[in-house]
């Protein structure tokens, strides 16, 4: 394949693809953190995850139009989405916590459609984009270029991931959340208000998505229908990393990013998405075979 030949002849291009993949994957990993949190603690697969990202993006866009620099807009969007998450928990999500997965998927699917269409009505279908004003780095006579905003995204993913890890491990609320995730009934017996923990978890997820949305608006663009991409990809990353494996999320996110970019270069961009879905299937089959041995021991 001639594209593969080009890569072998000029390995520097592979470096560009790897760097780009890691940086792009990190933004998806950010959304996946939230997905993993909600799934791990509340056993809810949030189909509206991408729409929360979209809303965060619009908040940062309108703040920018009002004169607030997007880098300041991102924490404001996170705070606003935290409040939105609390409200959404109160209205819908708290009814889903003890139900089976089908009900929660159905309900969050409904929320996602509602948010999409509301956004389309209120904001219009036009593509909105923001400029971060950050410089773009360029090496080796332009062969490697890194958008400054993508580095910010990567840094944000690392910071949020680290903060989340420390929060869950070392703060009281974090430990309470983990206790609730392990065994909700036991946690309640020990005096933890599990509903408040669930609300905090969901609101935290929305805040993370809001911040990610701001990064997405600065790196690419925002429009009412961009949600599905992020929902699907964050779902994939969580499945690949394994529920409860937070450090695995950023590895999986960046890993998928690198593989996607390379596949796009070698095979053509029409195969990019198909390639990583195929990888996910192989990963799951492989994991199943690996665990089969352990299951036999347990029997």
């Amino acid at each position: 394949m001639s594209n593969l030949g080009v890569l072998i002849d000029a390995p520097i291009l592979l470096l560009q693809l790897v760097v780009s993949g890691i940086l792009v994957g990190a933004i998806f990993a950010l959304v996946a953190y939230g997905m993993a949190l909600v799934w791990g603690v509340m056993n809810i697969i949030n189909i509206a995850q991408g729409e929360l990202v979209m809303l965060g993006g619009y908040i940062v866009f309108y703040l920018d139009a009002a004169g607030v620099h997007p880098l300041f807009g991102i924490p404001i969007a996170a705070a606003a989405m935290f409040a939105f998450g609390l409200a959404l928990y109160r209205v819908v999500i708290r009814r889903l916590v003890d139900r089976d997965m089908f009900v929660s998927i159905l309900a969050t699917f409904g929320i996602s459609i509602l948010l999409q269409q509301l956004a389309n009505q209120v904001f219009g279908a036009d593509i909105r984009t923001l400029s971060s004003g950050l410089p773009n780095l360029s090496f080796d006579n332009g062969l490697i270029s890194i958008a400054g905003v993508k580095i910010v995204g990567f840094a944000a993913a690392l910071v949020v991931g680290g903060a989340l890890f420390l929060f869950l491990r070392h703060t009281r609320i974090g430990q309470a959340i983990r206790a609730t995730a392990q065994n909700a009934r036991a946690a309640r017996v020990l005096g933890i208000d599990t509903h408040r923990m669930y609300a905090a978890t969901f609101a935290l997820n929305c805040a993370i998505c809001g911040a990610a949305g701001g990064l997405v608006a600065m790196t690419w663009f925002v429009q009412p229908y961009l949600g599905l991409t992020y929902t699907l990809r964050s779902f994939m990353i969580v499945v690949a990393a394994g529920i409860g494996n937070l450090p695995g999320v950023i590895l999986a996110g960046s890993g998928f990013g690198v593989l996607e970019e390379t596949a796009g270069f070698v095979l053509g961009s029409q195969y990019q998405t198909a390639f990583i879905f195929l990888l996910l299937i192989l990963l799951l089959i492989g994991r199943n075979l690996l665990l089969a041995r352990q299951r036999r021991y347990l029997k």
Binding site: L17, G124, T229, F265, S269
Partner: protein
């Protein structure tokens, strides 16, 4: 519990009933009624509004200038609208309603090839003449429809002119056109695939090579893999088609990653507002368009394109994109055909439409037997100093193409100079 349930059922039932669209009575007497299902909500809503505004302005101006004379009587035009919600199934349903229940006299097309494809079988079934201005897909004209007429150029024409410019410029520089390399990146939808087919066909005509032929899936938001390939293979032109998203991504990421190509050609530049969003980064991009405000075609209702644009801006407070202009032209075509047919009889009007030979501010209109407009040519413009300058067709063009585009170092240097 039982009461609550039946109350819920009653509420749901009423809500469902209330959501069905209200039938509009088709007016008789002195009014000719045109029916249109356009996208007022959903992903096409922006261009759907452009379409509706185009139709409305045409009807207003034609009525103000006396309407249409059939026999001894003056008739006014009126358009009845439904919202197709950017969904093909809904569009088809609503057009059937317009024809079978509301008894409209004629039908105006929706926005987008997808929706036009959905309603064309319906207008054909009822032998209802339809003029459309927003469905450019070539596939529409392969079914032998007799009642569908399109004023716009088919989608494969959007970037053919860019290939011609490449060939011209190669010859001028003393290069064999066969040595020209083209990279194509499209979003994998019907319209963009047609644009790609047009490029590939013309490239083959000149013997040019297509070195990259990427079809980005719809959920993809990053073109880095394709652009890295472009950096590696150094083509003479990169042609991107992906509606507004393709234009936004293309300009942004090409500038971000400092990808150098002598020609960058796109579709949907104006509706993506690339000059407003990206300023000088959008310079030197070539854009395909159905119409431009500087075209000097004229007609008795609107004068020339500049007059049309002024009228439109006054009425709706924004500059008309080509989607509005081609919608207005569709109504003009009906008005002209009705006058020649002398009646509202559908067969007579259909035959009159088939014989159309009309000049409008939007361009000349003449249909071949498949309903395509074969008289108009596509416009190609280039962004020069953040302004759109028409560079093709050369007969009506006011500007000359700048090719090859200056390299990024030179662009940054000249920006620094101009900032001093």
């Amino acid at each position: 519990m039982n009461f609550a349930r039946s109350l819920l059922a009653a509420t749901l039932g009423t809500a469902l009933f209330a959501m069905t669209p209200m039938p509009a009575a088709a007016l008789t007497g002195d009014t000719i009624v045109l029916g249109a299902a356009v996208s007022l909500t959903g992903k096409y809503s922006t261009n759907g509004k452009n379409t509706k505004d185009g139709y409305d302005l045409a009807v207003k101006v034609i009525n103000d200038k006396g309407g249409i004379k059939l026999g001894n009587k003056q008739y006014k035009l009126k358009v009845v609208y439904y919202d197709d919600e950017s969904t093909s199934a809904r569009g088809a349903q609503l057009v059937e309603r317009l024809i079978a229940q509301d008894h409209v006299d004629f039908v105006l097309g929706p926005y987008s090839s997808a929706l036009t494809k959905a309603i064309a079988p319906i207008t054909e079934k009822y032998k209802m003449p339809m003029v459309e201005g927003n469905g450019a897909d070539r596939g529409l004209f392969k079914h032998g429809y007799k009642y569908m007429f399109a004023v716009l150029n088919t989608s494969d024409y959007y970037l053919r002119e860019a290939v011609n410019i490449l060939a011209e410029q190669a010859k001028k520089a003393g290069r064999d056109p066969k040595s020209v390399k083209i990279a194509i990146a499209i979003e994998n939808d019907d319209f963009s695939q047609d644009v790609r087919d047009g490029i590939v066909e013309d490239a083959k005509k000149y013997g040019m090579q297509v070195v990259i032929d990427d079809k980005l899936p719809a959920e993809l938001n990053d073109m880095t893999a394709t652009l890295t390939k472009v950096k590696a293979l150094k083509p003479d032109a990169l042609m991107i088609s992906g509606h507004e998203k393709g234009a936004v991504l293309g300009i942004r990421q090409v500038a971000e990653q400092k990808v150098y190509v002598p020609m960058l050609a796109l579709t949907h530049c104006d509706s993506a507002q690339i000059t407003e969003k990206f300023g000088a980064d959008a310079d030197y991009a070539f854009c395909g368009s159905q119409w431009d405000v500087s075209m000097t075609y004229t007609d008795p209702w609107f004068g020339n394109s500049k007059n049309y644009a002024d009228m439109f801006k006054k009425a709706y407070n924004y500059d008309p994109p080509y989607q509005a202009a081609e919608s207005t032209a569709s109504v003009e075509v009906f008005a002209d055909a009705l006058r020649r047919a002398g009646s509202v009889d559908k067969e007579k009007v259909r035959d009159a439409l088939a014989k159309t030979d009309l000049m409008t501010f939007y361009g000349p209109v003449k249909f071949d037997q498949t309903g395509k407009n074969i008289a108009k040519s596509m416009v190609m413009y280039q962004v020069q100093h953040e302004h759109y300058v028409v560079v093709a067709p050369s007969k009506w063009a006011e500007g000359k193409p700048i090719y090859p585009a200056p390299t990024w170092d030179k662009r940054e240097a000249s920006e620094k100079v101009s900032q001093k």
